[in-house]
């Protein structure tokens, strides 16, 4: 296997790219995908550490994160659809009901 | 039987669960179930009364672990003594009456209303029986929420303003209390106290500076709830906007929470500080009495008038409590119950005419005696009870308060406060005259119906209590007497200590807790007048060196 650090660096890169995506994109679905990317980056860290420490807890966590991600996907996409039904758009710039 | 206290407290919650399964639209069923629950609670609470032994100990104590979070250990520690006993009974007594009064007054969201009422009951009972400070705080906050909704949803025109004002006023105080509570806990930890139990805090010996700050925080929270001048302005608004049952409970029980807080927590926990502040609080109480009476006199809205009269009455309670003698505190406790009954009754009375006429302006009435003789009679009895006519309950409490305060160092305050007796007659009789006497000239009033059977049934228990407590208050006083004596002893020792701190500090080498070297102070000596009391804070090490356990604290 490779050095722990290389995995962590890859994970950091992926996470940062995901962050940038969340912050810059307007399409709600893309933002959503970027969040998945960030989650996966964290998953990678978990697995890498788990392997390094010889402890399976991290992998169990990944398992749970996946569950959460799945649930999130279901609800999040449902929200996007509901929003689209309402506004004919999934641009987050059109969502500003929380304004003031 | 040993769990009767918990049973009483949480029966209303069971009632709430029951109500959840009843459909929204069957209003009659909802009302009857709520009534049944409160009546059962009252009956169960009578078991407490019959099982109560007349002594100074806490009884029906239940003490089980509850939350242990790191250094914070909260226990479910409840129990009652003579001081809380009657307030518990008062609460369970008032609740069926309050529920019954809503039968025609509330037509919307009946289910939610009843749930609020029952939750409120649990909150109030819980606060009265808590012996764990943290538990008390939780119940204290629990009370707030249903009341907030009751004012905010079922209130009058200006309900949102009143509800928010009520909530924020109380919240400000209780947050301060929370801070003080946590601080007190850490102080206790240093002295080896492991939990939030009130009884262990009683044994805690604090230096005067700490006491003063903690007392101020507690006193502020309770002063808002009482409410004392000048923190009273939420009360008229809350009372005016609240629905009848809300006003009744607010006046009868919720306000007692403040005065009870002083008697149960602020004074015995920080007795020396309490002595320091007695003149200040007595001054505020006396100002409250006169001020509220004068303001009540010129009110145009009957309900607001009654609300201001509450402020005046509770000023009397505070005066009695801060007399620090048995007569004064007994009077204060009695007055709490009396106020619950007679002001509760007054709010019910205002509710009756409001339901009929949908106005509370005094000028809209006049001459109602002719049309509503039963109502007039009841109103009059309650009016005189509120005025404190001998033979009714109001007198006994007021008299003992004034007597006790006169005996203590608050003599001059008492003389001024006594003139409140005149003013109370002025404003109550004036409103009675304007509402009930005179020509029945408003055509809308000429078709008013007299009280119906339900309304009379609501009032009868209150009237019975008015006379019973006025003519034979002995059982009430006897049950609370030992607990009050204990409290007075606790406070008196502290007052001697408070005045003796500088010499005590000088005699640090003396065997600790040597009461023999302290000359017996005359009981009626002004606590705040001694200039020597303040430097105590600089001599802080002295009390610290003393053992944590106060040898005088009666156990």
């Amino acid at each position: 296997m490779e050095n722990l650090n290389s995995y962590l660096v890859i994970s950091a890169v992926l996470f940062s790219i995901g962050t940038i995506g969340v912050l810059t994109r307007k399409n709600a679905i893309v933002i959503f995908m970027c969040i998945e990317l960030m989650l996966n980056a964290v998953n990678l860290t978990f697995v890498a550490f788990s392997r390094h420490l010889g402890n399976l807890d991290g992998q169990v966590f990944v398992f749970f994160i996946m569950t959460v991600a799945a649930a999130e996907a279901a609800v999040g996409l449902a929200l996007i659809i509901a929003f689209y039904n309402n506004k004919e758009s999934i641009d987050v710039d059109d969502v500003n009901l929380m304004k003031w | 039987m040993s769990n009767v206290l918990s049973l009483t407290t949480f029966l209303p919650i069971l009632g709430v669960l029951l109500l959840l399964f009843i459909p929204k639209d069957s209003k009659g069923v909802l009302r009857n179930v709520a009534l049944a629950v409160t009546v059962v609670t009252f009956v169960v609470s009578l078991l407490i009364l019959t099982g109560f032994q007349t002594n100074a100990e806490f009884q029906f104590v239940e003490n089980v672990p509850w939350i242990a979070a790191g250094p914070f250990i909260m226990r479910y520690n409840i129990g009652i003594d003579g001081i809380s006993l009657w307030l518990v009974i008062l609460t369970t007594f008032i609740m069926p009456i309050a529920v019954l009064s809503t039968y025609t007054a509330v037509e919307e969201k009946v289910k939610e209303y009843m749930i609020c009422l029952l939750l409120l009951e649990t909150g109030m009972l819980g606060a009265f029986i808590s012996l764990d400070l943290f538990l008390f705080y939780i119940f204290w906050e629990v009370m707030l929420i249903p009341m907030y909704f009751m004012i905010g949803i079922w209130g009058g025109k200006n309900k949102i303003y009143a509800a928010v004002k009520f909530f924020i006023y109380t919240m400000v105080g209780s947050l301060l209390m929370l801070v003080a509570l946590v601080f007190l806990y850490f102080k206790g930890m240093q002295a080896g106290i492991q939990d939030f139990s009130l009884l262990s805090f009683f044994t805690l010996k604090l230096d005067l500076a700490t006491q003063i700050w903690l007392f101020l925080a507690f006193a502020f929270a309770f002063a808002i709830k009482v409410p004392m001048f000048p923190l009273h302005t939420w009360l008229p608004d809350a009372h005016t906007e609240a629905p009848t049952a809300g006003s009744v409970i607010l006046a009868a029980v919720l306000l007692k929470m403040g005065t009870y807080g002083y008697v149960r927590f602020a004074i015995p926990l920080f007795p020396e500080a309490a002595h320091q502040f007695a003149p200040l609080i007595a001054t505020l109480a006396v100002i409250g009495i006169l001020y509220a009476a004068l303001v009540a006199m010129v009110q145009e809205d009957v309900k607001k008038l009654v609300a201001y009269s509450s402020v005046a009455h509770l000023g009397f309670v505070m005066l009695g409590v801060f007399a620090f003698n048995v007569e004064g505190i007994s009077g204060g406790m009695l007055q709490m119950i009396n106020h619950g009954i007679s002001t509760g009754a007054l709010f019910l009375i205002v509710g009756f005419i409001y339901e009929r006429r949908h106005t509370r302006l005094i000028t809209d009435f006049g001459g109602l005696s002719k049309q509503m003789p039963i109502f007039a009679t009841i109103f009059m009895i309650v009016t005189f009870s509120s005025v404190g006519l001998p033979g009714t309950n109001g007198f006994v409490g007021e008299f003992l308060i004034l007597l006790g305060a006169f005996e203590s160092q608050l003599r001059w305050w008492t003389i001024i406060a006594t003139s409140g007796v005149i003013l109370s007659a002025v404003y109550m009789l004036w409103v009675f005259q304007r509402v009930m006497f005179g020509e029945l000239d408003n055509p809308k009033n000429q078709k008013l119906l007299d009280l119906n059977a339900r309304e009379i049934a609501i009032m009868v228990p209150l009237l019975v209590m008015i006379f019973f407590m006025g003519l034979y208050p002995k059982p009430f006083i006897d049950k609370m007497d030992p607990a009050i004596k204990k409290l007075v002893a606790q406070v008196r020792v502290a007052s001697v200590n408070a005045q003796m701190v500088p010499p005590a500090a000088a005699q640090m080498q003396m065997p600790e807790g040597h009461p023999a070297v302290m000359p017996q102070m005359p009981a009626g000596h002004p606590g705040g007048a001694m200039p020597a009391a303040h430097p105590a804070t600089e001599a802080a090490p002295a009390p610290h060196a003393a053992p944590a356990v106060n040898p005088h604290a009666a156990k």
Partner: protein, 664 residues
């Protein structure tokens, strides 16, 4: 028999409960009135029994205390519901139940057909109960129940015709003024209790215990404070300066009420209270002087007002105030038994006068009602010449008037003369005595004048009533005239039990009877008064003669002005318009009080509410809220509502915090 003393207040209470709760259902006036009267009559019988038994006992054993049930026990404080029987309370219960019975009987006739007949009797019974508690109470607190209870009943009965605004006002005024007095009473009570407790560890409000410990009290000082406070209580209840203005207004109540409450019984409570605590009062020479001066001043002040009133009941009301002044004068000069004696005789003749005036009003009202006239049935200017129409009323009224005017042979003479003599010859006030006596004597002259003015205007001369109504005037029914006759008889003979020693015909039973009660007071007074001057019998005889002359002068003036030369009063008014206006308007005391107390209080209340409560306190509260609102109004612009802004700030926050922990 003594053990049954609790029956005395119990019977009226039962009457009150029956009539109060079921009176509306009973409807039958005879039954309601019968129950009310019977109950008070039963009390009267019990009282008689107690009196008989008491007479049978040697004087020093004539004290008995009966605890009915424990009332308030708290800390040091202990007050039981307990009754005290001694010669003084014996007299009082006899007067209350006796006169009370007669007035109940009278009311059956007088109140016939009134709406709320049952209510009236219920209140009347309640009043009797409270009054009996007041006089029987063995401690200050039971007395205070009665004290306030009679105030309550007075309120209820004055406000009996509640649809009249004036009645409501008068009722409220009476209660509030009484409350001012109660304030004094309470402070007095507290002072005494506190002083005994803190100095001698005697925590008591019981009269007998205080009496036993009264030797500990100092002369003056704290006792002056306490007794002055008690005296304030007495002025409220007994309508003395400065708290007298409620009594004339109280005439808004039905006439039997005026007779029972505002003449015979309740208003004398203050006198009774001072007598009850004579052993405390005499310990303060200052208070005694204040009482004497206030009494004398009230006597003359009210008498002057009485001369100009036209309402028959108002004249009697001022007369009552004036007579009460005499009683206080007696108390102030240490003539306690004389004062109580006057209280009793006054109860007879003043009750008779009020009931007589009630009889007149009843008849007038009836007659005016028949012709649908709206003339005032109580205004003496509408009366005149009633003598022939109402012979019984006239005779009893005249007898009582003679009694009050102080003509020898009638009861009023004995008591009033005794008071005047004591005012002159008492050892307390030194040079002030002559002033007190002089004031009293002039007041007596005024009394004779306005009372005979009343009689002349009402019963003599030509009839001024609407001629159409004249034929409807008739004597009242028996149920009304019997009490009149009984009281009239008492007004004549009642005085003989207390005949002054100097007349020598009968021993002064009354004074002997009360001796054990007031002996201690007399003993205390010896400590500081000089009793060197012992005025001679000759002086007493001559003063007695002088007072008779004074009375006759008063009567003579009245006769001249209102019978012989009826134009004189008009001329007098024309000559001194300002004086007449001032007297007619009661020296503007009401207006003065409005100006000094009532209006400032209202204005202050308005200011505190609208100015302080709403503007300052709520201003601060809402101000805080507004400041918060203002800030949040600015900060809310941070809430753009755009998702990326929130995400950005969150990420930024995470970065900054992480950075802080890394680089710290």
């Amino acid at each position: 028999m003594f053990d049954n003393v609790w029956l005395i207040p119990l019977f009226p209470l039962i009457g009150f409960l029956i009539n109060g709760l079921f009176g509306k259902k009973i409807k039958n006036e005879a039954v309601i009135g019968g129950i009310g009267t019977l109950m008070i009559f039963l009390s009267f019988l019990v009282s008689c029994g107690i009196l008989m038994q008491m007479i049978g006992l040697p004087p020093e054993q004539r004290v008995f205390e009966k605890v009915v049930f424990p009332w308030i026990h708290s800390g040091h404080f202990k007050a039981d519901m307990a009754f005290l029987i001694d010669p003084l309370s014996c007299i009082m219960i006899m007067v209350v139940t006796g006169v009370g019975t007669l007035i109940h009987l009278y009311s059956i006739g007088y109140m016939h057909g009134e709406e709320g007949f049952y209510r009236f009797f219920a209140y009347l019974n309640l009043f009797c109960m409270s009054m009996l508690l007041l006089v029987l109470g063995s401690n200050m607190l039971v007395m205070f129940i009665g004290w306030e209870g009679v105030g309550l009943c007075s309120y209820l009965l004055i406000g009996y015709y509640f649809h009249k605004k004036s009645a409501g006002d008068a009722a409220k005024k009476a209660f509030v003024m009484n409350r001012v007095g109660d304030f004094g009473f309470l402070i007095g009570l507290f002072t005494l209790y506190w002083w005994f407790g803190s100095n001698h560890n005697i925590w008591t409000v019981n009269f007998m215990e205080i009496k036993a410990a009264s030797h500990l009290l100092p002369y003056g000082g704290v006792v002056t404070v306490a007794t002055l406070c008690f005296f304030v209580g007495a002025t409220g209840k007994s309508a003395q300066i400065p708290l007298f203005t409620w009594l004339p207004d109280a005439m808004e109540g039905p006439t039997p009420v005026s007779a029972l409450i505002h003449a015979a019984t309740m208003v004398t409570a203050g006198v009774y209270m001072i007598a009850r605590m004579s052993f405390v009062f005499v310990k303060s020479p200052e208070t005694m002087m204040v009482i004497a001066v206030i009494g004398a001043a009230t006597a003359i002040f009210a008498a002057t007002i009485g001369t100009a009133q036209n309402d028959i009941k108002r004249v009697l009301a001022y007369s009552t105030v004036s007579q009460l002044g005499f009683m206080f004068l007696a108390m102030g000069v240490g003539a306690f038994s004389a004062g109580i004696f006057h209280l009793m005789t006054h109860a007879f003749f003043k009750a008779c006068l009020f009931l007589g005036s009630g009889s007149v009003i009843h008849s007038m009202h009836h007659a005016l009602h028949k012709i649908h006239s709206h003339d005032d049935a109580q205004d003496m200017r509408n009366m005149g010449g009633l003598r022939s129409a109402m012979p019984i009323t006239f005779v009893t009224f005249l007898v009582s008037t003679i009694a009050i005017a102080g003509i020898p042979g009638f009861s009023g003479f004995f008591s009033k003369d005794e008071i005047l003599w004591q005012a002159f010859a008492n050892p307390y006030h030194g040079d002030l005595n002559i002033v007190l006596w002089g004031t009293g004597a002039i007041a007596a002259c005024f009394t004779a004048f306005y009372m005979f003015r009343l009689v002349f205007m009402t019963f003599f001369g030509e009839s001024r009533i609407n001629p159409k109504a004249k034929s409807y005037l008739h004597e009242s029914p028996l149920v009304i005239t019997i009490p009149l006759m009984v009281l009239g008889a008492l007004a004549v003979v009642g005085g003989y039990i207390g005949m002054p020693k100097i007349l020598g015909m009968l021993p002064n039973y009354f004074e002997h009877w009360l001796d054990p009660v007031f002996a201690l007071a007399t003993e205390y007074s010896h400590k500081y008064v000089s009793h060197a001057a012992h005025p001679s019998h000759a002086l007493e005889w001559s003063l007695m003669g002088l007072s008779v002359v004074i009375a006759l002068v008063g009567i003579g003036i009245a006769f001249t002005m209102y019978v012989k030369n009826t134009a004189l009063p008009g001329k007098f008014v024309a000559t001194f318009p300002a004086l007449h206006r001032a007297v007619y308007n009661k020296w503007y005391v009401d207006e003065l009080y409005d100006y000094l107390f009532v209006n400032p209080c209202k204005a202050l209340g308005q200011f505190l509410w609208k100015g302080f409560d709403v503007v300052i306190i709520d201003g601060v509260v809402n101000g805080v809220a507004n400041v918060v609102m203002g800030f949040s109004g600015i900060f809310r612009y941070l809430q753009s509502g755009y998702l990326y802004n929130y995400a950005l700030s969150m990420a930024l926050g995470v970065v900054v915090m992480l950075g802080y922990f890394i680089f710290k």
